[in-house]
């Protein structure tokens, strides 16, 4: 896995720039990652999503789906599209330092 420097911090990422090591993620890094995809400011609602995704991943071993964020995390799907426009599933995983939702192939 390639190593890159984001916000002065060395991290492991995959070919698409998603962090591959759960423990390398920090809140500062999340702000940098968000800026990379055009989200200038992470507000409380963004943080609610990120916090849920991080803790859910720890329990489940996989990134929560939009349905799970809505049903268990309590953030409606429509809001996710406002918070992380166009590609919420991909963007929220990217900012949270988690794998993107993927198929088996």
């Amino acid at each position: 896995m390639p190593v890159t420097t984001i916000g002065g911090q060395e991290v492991h990422v995959d070919d698409e720039g998603f962090l591959t090591e759960y423990d390398e993620w920090t809140e500062d890094l999340a702000r940098e990652l968000a800026t990379n995809i055009g989200i200038a400011d992470l507000n409380d609602d963004h943080w609610k999503v990120i916090t849920f995704l991080r803790s859910d991943f720890k329990d489940q071993g996989e990134t929560a789906t939009l349905r799970r964020v809505s049903a268990v995390g309590g953030i409606p799907t429509k809001s996710l599209f406002q918070l992380f426009p166009k590609k919420p599933a991909r963007k929220m995983s990217y900012v949270s330092g988690l794998p993107k939702p993927a198929g088996c192939i």
Binding site: D15, G61, T65, L66, R67, F81, G103, C104, I105
Partner: protein, 412 residues
């Protein structure tokens, strides 16, 4: 006398019974299976019915034919699993007590969960192929269809057999070519994921397949509703896709019994330890096959490898011994790609599909991540294997754990 109760006599439940009956003494253990449906479906075969490659006879047999000797079978609807009382209540009010419970109630499609999807157009211009009825109606629709926009849409992941939608669109391409209609047909693959191939190595090897077959791709499309009168799909971010014929993979949910009994997650799948399938809440309850919330594909091959691990662990668990075997999430799937060719993928929780040979390193006969005729024949032979070997609990010469031997690790 102890009782093992298995809910669901589909692929996973039947294999559990077949594997455990010979291993649990008849004088010590009673095994009971409960299922509400009399028919066992060879579900991988549903894909072939719309194209006239299989008929319903290929995919249907009585469940009773596969209940192992010495196993009690109750055909009944289950009302509730009362795990705290170690019993299951049937729809007629009968209680069935157990010492150990295996939940193998599978997953099914829920078109009613998407606004506008299930209406008067369902079975006419809106179709699925995840049920026998759906596949038959689609076969009729395709026979008389003269062309237009065919859209295949996956509503939401996870779904049963996540490669089936790709296979469908590949087979549709070949089917319309053979009918001389391909120039009149627009094929579009619509997915909530960011591509048809989302794993880097598969994407590298197969990324051009859709383009080569002239199939359009609409990634990141998260369906909010269907306007069946105007014949269009509408996403949460207000994108619209028009169709003349919609083939949908509706939302997949686990069984309502699981939900009613308070044993499921937000999609009615039972949370289990993904290494040994033991419920996270009850020491005498397991969930196996599609019913479990495992982070791997919902597929018969997963159920097969999982049952091998489960059998050894269960025999230890009931003796109070630790479960030593750990499931690695192993899955392998043939992917029909049309014109008598197919692909094969082999992967687990940690390793994405890689190129190489399977099952014999360097020899095959199957080739991973490449279109070959042999892979197609593997898929066609599998129906026999399923009915005669897998469901009978007979061993296949395939190790349950995924092996790196034979694979080319491209070090992504």
């Amino acid at each position: 006398m102890k009782r093992l109760l298995i809910l669901g006599a589909g692929t996973a439940g039947t294999m559990v019974a077949a594997k455990l009956r010979p291993r649990l003494g008849n004088d010590e253990w009673k095994i009971t299976m409960i299922d509400q449906e009399p028919t066992h479906y060879y579900q991988p075969g549903f894909l072939f019915i719309p194209f006239g490659i299989y008929t319903p006879d290929d995919v249907v047999k009585p469940k009773a034919d596969f209940i192992p000797a010495g196993v009690e079978y109750i055909e009944a609807e289950i009302d509730l699993i009362e795990a705290a009382q170690n019993r299951v209540t049937l729809a007629d009010g009968t209680h069935v007590e157990y010492d150990y419970l295996v939940i193998a109630t599978g997953t099914s499609i829920r078109p009613d969960e998407t606004p506008g999807l299930e209406g008067p157009e369902y079975g006419k211009t809106v179709h699925d192929f995840y049920t026998l009825e759906g596949a038959k109606a689609l076969a009729e629709a395709l026979r008389f269809w003269e062309g237009g926009k065919l859209v295949l849409n996956i509503v939401e992941m996870p779904i049963k057999c996540p490669v089936a939608p790709l296979e469908f669109i590949f087979l549709a391409d070949a089917y319309f070519q053979d009918k001389g209609l391909r120039d009149n047909v627009d094929l579009t693959y619509v997915t909530p994921l960011d591509g048809a191939f989302t794993k880097p190595i598969a994407a590298k090897h197969l990324g051009n397949l859709l383009e080569d077959k002239n199939i359009s791709l609409e990634p990141d499309f998260y369906l909010e509703r269907v306007d069946a009168d105007e014949k269009k799909l509408i996403s949460y971010d207000e994108r619209e896709i028009e169709y003349d014929l919609l083939i949908t993979i509706p939302l997949n949910f686990g069984s309502d019994v699981v939900a009613r009994s308070g044993l499921g997650n937000e999609m009615n799948y039972v949370p289990v330890d993904n290494k040994n399938f033991l419920s996270k809440d009850y020491e005498n309850v397991f969930a196996i096959g599609d019913a479990a919330d495992l982070p791997t594909s919902k597929a018969g091959s997963v159920a097969h490898f999982a049952v091998e691990v489960f059998t050894e662990n269960f025999l230890r668990h009931v003796e109070g011994l630790p479960m030593l075997e750990e499931f690695d999430g192993h899955a392998n799937c043939f992917i029909e790609s049309g014109h008598g060719k197919g692909l094969l993928i082999d992967f687990n929780y940690d390793t994405e599909p890689l190129p190489g040979k399977y099952p014999l390193p360097g020899i095959g006969p199957f080739t991973l991540l490449r279109e070959t005729e042999m892979n197609h024949w593997g898929k066609m032979m599998f129906k026999w294997t399923y009915w005669n070997m897998l469901l009978r609990g007979k061993p296949l010469p395939l190790p349950h754990e995924m092996l790196m031997a034979g694979k080319i690790d491209e070090g992504a």
